[in-house]
Amino acid sequence: MFDFFKGFGVTFSTMFKKVVTEEYPEDFPPAAPRYHGRHQLNRHPDGLEKCVGCELCAWACPADAIYVEGGDNTEEARYSPGERYGAIYQINYLRCIGCGLCVEACPTRSLTMTNFYELADDNRQDLIYTKEQLMAPLLPGMEQPPHPMRLGDDEQDYYVQGPTLATAASVADQTGEQER
């Protein structure tokens, strides 16, 4: 008999406690800053792609979620500084386990992870993200490739001056990693 009130007592007392439920999807807080969310392919400050199509991310991936094909930059069509760029880039989010080994493997810091985590869909095809979907948005001062190198004569200049160029750009979230 007493147990009956004891049980409802728990329910009653909870009504005055702080609510932990989040109003998803109407209102929800961002994930932790280092959350392993959707990937992003970053750009140099002039908009050229950082990806060189080396496939090291695909090699590092324990889930075989990444597919890359390299391509040859030409004088007419330049996508990245240097000789090589990633012509095809796909990440299969049905396979990705969010471990981040690909980000560690990336030699140009082209590949990073955002904290965007809404990766669900009703079909398989749409969960294979292509290069167009993964590329970082064009920030002010950036130009959609293909275009010639604007920040130096060769790729050395891009890498050696990279940090300077990045801090010189007055945009707070330069790489757009906090994009929501």
Binding site: V52, C54, E55, A58, W59, G70, G71, D72, G82, E83
Partner: protein, 821 residues
């Protein structure tokens, strides 16, 4: 690794004759005198790091990576020694990096020096992932670099030919490429330039790196300094699915590896077969594979409708239409079968059996090129039934036989242009073993120069006379044991030449090797795709063997046709005149036949034409039924190379829905109420093995020697032969390869040029009543009154344009445009 008794050496065991005993890493080993230290280490399972060392190249000691500590007679040598240049000696004590800190430190030091100027390009370098430098830097290098200065840089990449790109920053100056070009290929177009810290690999500015074997330098480069233009940035080794295979481009049957990614062949690499191609591959074999995916590929069966247009239909429908047409033709005047020279043994066997069992005829001939009855006699007498490991009397000439021969006479073939690996062996034999090479040819080709050949100049058409009486020197050389005569399929264009070769072999005791240009020719002889030969080397006229074959095939006694059939030209003539009602044509290009116009007329006039093809071609355009068949990458099977050696290969790409010729013919046979039992290549090979192989036992050809035409004023005798890189149908869609083709010229000697009014460098027109070929003139040592043209090169398609062949008279006039090119 299992140690064989040879390596279980103790102090007590006696040292074998011609060997020395030494100690490597505290292990005793006996090594043959003169062996390089690095090889002895390999035999013990001790891998000393190296870059410049290559077992098929002469030692160079260029990279210094293989340093080991050596002690001789109890006294250590003052400095570590390069094990790739030092030969073994008795009582030597060797310590590699495994047991000597000094050797290890020396190796690490060399590695550090090699990496000083090596860029950190691994992510964008094609070699990354399969790079000896990368691997050995990980295994034997230091983790940190002490070099903080600016690295030496060069502009990159430097295209040294249309298919090889050079990145000088990555080069470690091991000289493998320069040594390969100089020693193996004999094309010294690439060499070391400058001195000291500026030393670099380069080419002469006015001369591109033009070699038919340049692709090998890409493969043996131990860093990513030489890369392939066609494979550039396409993939990483871990993406690739590798399938061992056999090259389909010539009759050498080279071992190779096909690397594919997601159903597309990306590159081909030479395999290692010491008995055949060693570790080399010619550029055509390495780079010509995009025909697989080229636009003209046929994937669905097609039938010509009442509107005269080909329309895609189902297999069932296409086979029904084909069977109805062929049955009607069989009941009428008959069916002819032209399989072509690009088939595997299994597919050629299916054609041969289809002709005999289904079409009930001996009118089958694979020779889609100029041919003769004399050639049939020659093939029966000297080629059919031979094998490298054949019974006594059926033993054939091998690559090893060429290498060890005291003298070789080549006739009717220019090995460099038509069978690259034979050329490499001839060159190796000439360089290392003192081979005397004689070549019967109209002029000294570059290949003849690089194999030290003595050229016996012959006017086209009169080669037989030269071969019959080659001179005392040649006779004496060929009289030595082990001497070889290599004869190519171009011999069919010169009357009496096969007989003369046969006679010369009988006279001198030299062995005969027949080197056709196409990969399938040798196998088709064995498979019986000839009017006078049944499978397994059975002569059509051999009643007893024929009865045995009827038993194996399960056909009624006397059902196999007993009369020799028509040869290729006769089949086409009969088709044109209505003496044959239908043709079944495999991979035949009518433009390769002696008279392309007549061949096309025949294909147009014949009542019913069935074509089994990979690509749309001149035959499919005229065919009533087109049945798609599998290219090499999508079929399994085997070729017989010119030696008669079986060269098997498996399916490299997904072959769903793609059928090999043998399967298509089998199903077509079933539609026509006869079973071929060749549903799979394995089944066909099994049945061919049951038939066995034998020498047909027919006599050698004894035809009279031909004579050359006498050119009148403004005329010349035409000599013609193919170039390795030309407009071949299997080399389509390969711009990088085509860029290394030799430039086509009209070749003529100075006296004839003067007589005809030609000027070197200016254009000349070579013509007949059918057409004219205009090319710049180059002078060469041809006999008087002879002009040479490449048979199938850009701007020079001799047979379709001129309707003339080797030995015919052509008109030659200067084109007075004054243009010097």
């Amino acid at each position: 690794m299992t140690l064989t008794p040879e390596w279980n050496v103790t102090e007590e065991t006696p040292v074998p004759e011609g060997h020395v005993r030494l100690t490597i890493d505290d292990q005793l080993i006996d090594a043959p005198k003169g062996e390089l230290l690095i090889r002895t280490c390999e035999r013990l399972g001790i891998i000393v790091p190296r870059f410049c060392d290559h077992p098929l190249l002469d030692p160079a000691g260029a990279c210094r990576q293989c340093l080991v500590e050596v002690e001789m007679g109890g006294r250590p040598m003052p400095k570590p020694q390069a094990s790739c240049t030092m030969t073994v000696a008795d009582g030597m004590v060797v310590r590699t990096q495994h047991t000597s800190e000094r050797a290890d430190k020396a190796q690490q030091g060399v590695m550090e020096l090699l990496l000083i100027n090596h860029p950190l390009d691994c992510p964008i370098c094609d070699k990354g992932g399969e790079c000896p430098l990368q691997n050995q830097a990980m295994a034997h290098g230091r983790a940190d670099s002490r070099f903080v200065e600016r690295k030496r840089t060069f502009p990159k990449p430097l295209p040294i030919s249309s298919q090889v790109l050079l990145d000088r920053e990555r080069c470690v100056l091991c000289q493998r490429c320069t040594r390969f070009s100089e020693e193996i290929a004999g094309d010294p177009f690439i060499d070391l330039l400058e001195r000291g810290a500026n030393q670099q690999v380069g080419i002469a500015e006015d001369q591109p790196f033009q070699s038919y074997f340049s692709g090998n330098t890409i493969q043996i480069c131990p860093v990513g300094a030489l890369t392939s233009a066609a494979y550039r940035f396409r993939s990483r080794p871990f993406d690739l699915r590798s399938t061992p295979g056999t090259c389909e481009h010539c009759s050498s049957g080279c071992d190779m590896r096909t690397d594919s990614r997601r159903g597309t062949v990306l590159r081909r690499l030479a395999g290692n077969d010491p008995e055949v191609n060693e570790e080399w591959l010619c550029d055509k074999g390495r780079f010509a594979f995009r025909y697989l995916g080229s636009g003209g590929r046929i994937t669905r069966p097609m039938v010509r409708g009442t509107d005269g247009e080909l329309a895609e239909v189902s297999w069932t429908e296409a086979l029904r239409v084909a069977a109805e047409g062929l049955l009607a033709a069989r009941a009428g005047a008959g069916i002819g079968v032209l399989p072509g020279g690009r088939l595997t043994v299994e597919d050629a066997y299916a054609y041969a059996k289809f002709a005999r069992v289904v079409a009930r005829t001996n009118d089958v001939d694979f020779r889609s090129r100029p041919h003769s009855d004399e050639e049939l006699e020659f093939l029966s007498a000297h080629v059919a039934g031979g094998a490298p490991d054949g019974a006594p009397g059926a033993d054939s000439v091998t690559f090893e036989g060429i290498e060890n021969a005291p003298a070789v006479l080549t006739v009717g073939t220019d090995p460099e242009e038509e069978s690259g690996i034979v050329f490499l062996r001839l060159r190796k034999a000439w360089r290392k073993k003192g081979l005397r090479h004689f070549q019967v040819a109209p002029f000294t080709t570059t290949g003849a120069g690089k194999t030290g050949a003595t050229v016996l100049h012959a006017v086209p058409g009169a080669e037989a006379a030269v071969v019959a009486e080659p001179g005392a020197d040649v006779l004496a050389a060929l009289g030595q044991p082990g001497a070889v005569i290599l004869v190519g399929d171009r011999a069919a264009e010169s009357p009496g030449l096969y007989s003369a070769v046969s006679g010369l072999a009988a006279r001198t005791g030299a062995a005969i090797g027949w080197i056709p240009r196409r990969a399938g020719d040798r196998g088709a002889v064995e498979a019986g795709a000839l009017p006078t030969l049944l499978p397994g080397g059975i002569a059509v006229t051999d009643a007893r063997a024929r009865t045995e074959l009827e038993r194996i095939w399960g056909v009624g006694a006397g059902e196999l046709p007993a009369e020799p059939g028509r040869d290729g030209d006769a089949i086409l003539a009969a088709a044109a005149s209505g003496a044959l009602d239908a043709l079944v044509v495999g991979g035949v290009d009518p433009h390769d036949m002696a008279d392309p116009a007549a061949a096309l007329t025949a294909l147009r006039r014949v009542g019913f034409l069935v074509s089994l093809e990979i690509h749309s071609s001149a035959v499919t355009e005229l065919a009533d039924v087109v049945l798609p068949v599998a290219p090499d990458a999508q079929r399994s099977g085997s070729y017989l190379n010119w030696e008669g050696r079986r060269r098997e290969f498996g399916v490299a790409l997904d072959a769903t829905g793609v059928l090999p010729d043998c399967r298509v013919l089998d199903t077509l046979g079933v539609e026509m109420d006869a079973d071929l039992f060749t549903q799979t290549p394995a089944a066909a090979a099994g049945e061919l093995a049951r038939i066995g192989t034998r020498r047909p036992g027919t006599g050698a050809p004894t035809r009279p020697a031909g004579t050359a035409h006498r050119p009148g004023p403004g005329q010349a005798v035409l000599a013609t032969s193919r170039q390795l890189v030309d407009d071949a149908s299997l080399a389509v869609d390969e711009p990088a390869l085509a860029g290394t083709a030799r430039r086509p010229y009209v070749k003529v000697n100075a006296a004839t040029a003067e007589r005809l009014g030609l000027v070197e460098g200016e254009d000349a027109a070579v013509g007949t009543d059918r057409g004219t070929i205009t090319l710049p003139v180059a002078l060469a040592d041809l006999p008087d009154g002879v002009v040479w043209l490449p048979t199938c090169s850009p701007g020079s398609h001799v047979r379709p344009t001129l309707g003339a062949g080797h030995g015919d008279l052509v008109g030659v006039t200067p084109v007075g445009n004054g243009r010097v090119s």
